[in-house]
């Protein structure tokens, strides 16, 4: 650690004036409204480059994103966040940070607890969590839906799966903010978050070794790795890190964007209230149009993507959200069509790194929207409040003031 707490802060990023040659996904303009920027980049080239972040490409079309996602030979997952610095790789989170051949066995261990059937067993608890949250604010006629609702659903659901007190969710939220948002520009915040999280989970690991249960931590401790050996503590800790980092603000963002859309689109809201059976299809469209997650790759060997040369040593901002807005893949890509028939969206990634929690995220989204619409069918954005969006790798509303009930 350095003497001065400010020494680990990197210089502020200068504002972007030339998006095509100098893009920056942490610029406030991007954070506020990235869609027109992606359109500009896509019109310029299937792959664009910036000198920021020590050199970084961004594929702008569905096709280019797909080529990179499928190419594990030239593109490594060992770094999955585009940051200002590239320190030694220490805290791994298998399988998201794994490449073949290590990837498959690490992923196989995590898949059975996240099948759609396993999620059905968790669904009643998630439904209860949603209603407990709504109970707390429904009489007020207004709330910040991000702070009071969307934020807490995935945290409590994952805590429940891990057999951890749901009230510890506030700790999870703090670590995620340190790692995913502050950590892009501040190494010390990131390391503090990782260290605290590791200590917390290590204590739970030791406890489960003494008293195993049915929770996911116990299941991971019982699981066998590739050679039939139990997983190492470091591997289990890495996977728990992944579940927390990947499973919380992502789904919180996805639920938030869906509510944001419904708050400002009465026709869609009324239709889903009248036809709840359409909710799962509408959720796929919200996932397409407001995909929360942008991943990253590191270029290991020179290659060509959609005809564009790509050089080793650069990072790649793998924007599934931009791919999902590509009009070459999706007719009316910029329109939200809640009954869209053909929707091969890539919100959960493409290829071997398909999100291991996609069934959990879908279940949480569906339950969260169903329960909200049952109890608060009529709501709108609060004109006196301000909607704010998270910066960086995961996009979703962080403040979502809405009016309902007596104020609707």
């Amino acid at each position: 650690m350095s003497d001065s707490p400010s020494a680990s802060f990197l210089p502020e990023h200068p504002p972007v004036t030339d998006w095509v040659h100098d893009f920056d996904h942490t610029d406030p303009v991007w954070t506020d409204d990235p869609f027109p920027i992606w359109e500009t980049l896509r019109a310029a080239s299937p792959v664009v480059h910036t000198e920021r972040f020590l050199g970084c490409y961004m594929p702008t079309t569905y096709q280019a994103v797909k080529e990179i996602a499928y190419d594990t030979e030239h593109f490594s997952s060992r770094r999955v966040i585009v940051r200002d610095v590239r320190p030694e790789i220490s805290a791994r989170a298998p399988p998201i940070t794994s490449d073949p051949p290590e990837h498959k066995p690490a992923k196989q261990v995590l898949l059975p607890p996240f099948t759609p059937d396993a999620m059905k067993r968790l669904e009643p608890r998630v439904r209860a969590i949603c209603n407990e949250l709504i109970d707390e604010f429904i009489a007020d006629g207004h709330c910040d839906a991000a702070a009071r609702y969307t934020k807490h659903i995935p945290v409590r659901a994952i805590a429940h799966m891990l057999g951890i007190p749901e009230k510890d969710g506030d700790l999870f939220i703090k670590w995620i903010h340190q790692i995913l948002e502050l950590g892009i520009k501040n190494e010390e915040e990131l390391m503090n978050g990782v260290r605290e999280m590791t200590g917390y989970f290590m204590a739970h690991l030791e406890q489960r070794k003494l008293q195993p249960g049915d929770d996911l931590i116990s299941q991971l401790l019982r699981a066998k790795g590739p050679g039939g050996q139990p997983l190492t503590d470091e591997h289990v800790l890495g996977s728990l890190r992944l579940l927390l980092i990947a499973g919380i603000d992502t789904t919180w963002s996805a639920i938030g964007s869906s509510l944001w859309h419904l708050a400002r689109t009465p026709a869609d809201r009324e239709r889903l209230v009248a036809e709840p059976a359409l909710i799962p299809i509408a959720i796929e469209e919200f996932l397409r149009a407001y995909s929360p997650v942008t991943m990253a790759r590191e270029v290991m060997k020179e290659t060509t993507i959609s005809g564009c040369p790509v050089k080793a040593g650069n990072m790649v901002l793998l924007s599934f959200p931009a791919a999902n807005r590509d009009p070459a893949m999706f007719p009316d890509a910029d329109k939200v069509v809640i009954d869209r028939k053909e929707n091969r969206h890539a919100a959960f990634g493409l290829g071997i790194h398909r999100c291991v929690g996609s069934n959990l995220a879908r279940m949480e989204m569906q339950v969260a929207i169903e329960e909200w619409l049952k109890r608060i069918p009529d709501f709108r954005l609060d004109p006196a409040g301000k909607v704010t969006w998270s910066e960086g790798t995961v996009r979703g509303p962080r403040q979502l003031p809405v009016l309902f009930g007596k104020n609707a």
């Binding site: 059975p112 099948t115 759609p116 091969r344 493409l350 290829g351 398909r354 996609s358």
Partner: protein
Amino acid sequence: MSKLRIRVDQDKCQGHARCKSLAPELFELDEFGNAHEAGDGTVPAGLEDKAWLAQTNCPEIAIEVTEE
């Protein structure tokens, strides 16, 4: 109408489970959540639209639908 048959390419399927959600009668998931065609993949009469719906929503283009 001709008879349809579906097949899930196991090298391509990554377990998104869109097919199971859209056409539960036509697909089965294994313990890892990867999809397989139910039975021999023959699509019962009346479920043809669901077979095409599953095919056109698979992000990995892992589902083949053939007309017999």
